[in-house]
Symmetry: C2
Subunit: 147 residues, 2 copies
């Protein structure tokens, strides 16, 4: 069913990334899905919160834990438009995320650049979902910054 596809949920994460773009934040968005329902949405808010740790993934994870009343997201999927950084991968380890689906790879800051495995061993990874759209948004953002 289309509504339960990775593309569907990634489009929702992209909507979050666009909110970040429109508020002059590096455009990264995330949603957490549990039993095919979106239980948390967030976008990067490092500028508005003056907090370098306020990445979309961190905010979405905390909101999802709050929603579920649980420290574990082991029946949840995180959709995020950009590959998580080391900090966010470490957070996903702690919550024992069931599945991570990300869009564009981050060739400068992505967790997969670290040789050791950072995610929880049970976390499945799907990458490249709507990667072009995610990357285009980020490229546009930095082009706008340089103008």
């Amino acid at each position: 069913m289309e509504i339960f596809s990775h593309e569907y949920f990634m489009r929702e994460a992209l909507k979050e990334a666009k909110k970040a773009f429109d508020t002059n934040e590096i455009p990264v968005g995330a949603v957490v899905v549990c039993k095919n329902k979106i239980i948390a949405r967030a976008h990067n808010q490092t500028e508005v919160l003056t907090d370098a740790t306020a990445h979309a993934e961190m905010l979405a994870v905390t909101a999802a834990e709050n929603y579920l009343g649980s420290k574990y997201l082991n029946e949840c999927i995180l959709y995020v438009t950009l590959e998580p950084c080391v900090m966010c991968a470490g957070a996903l380890h702690w919550v024992q995320l069931e599945r991570l689906v990300f869009g564009a790879s981050d060739v400068q800051r992505g967790y997969s650049l670290v040789s050791s495995p950072l995610l929880h061993p049970k976390t499945e990874v799907v990458k490249g979902v709507k990667a072009d759209e995610a990357k285009l948004l980020i490229d546009e953002f930095f082009k706008k910054l340089r103008l």
Copy 2:
């Protein structure tokens, strides 16, 4: 001057760890020091906040950024009773921490178990400050848990 020693500030971090102990949290505490002044204090609050990311370091870093009105802690020292995990090391990278001083090493979850360097290249590291006290508190905690 004694008041500006690593031991002095680590004692303050240990006071935070004891607060965690007394509220049934894994006893880890942290303080952030800027120009010899404590600008943030925090202890692990993963249980009370139902948030696996609510480590002492994350809470202290966010509070310090808020205090300074800056995303960077490049003139700050973080004192933490236990070696940070991967997530927290990633956060310390983003804030470009000037110096990390930790107590006990974490042989299971410490960031230094990862072969790649996770901290910012400019971050100086001092380890083992009051390590025995920090470790004793954690050992006592897990002994109490098993009773």
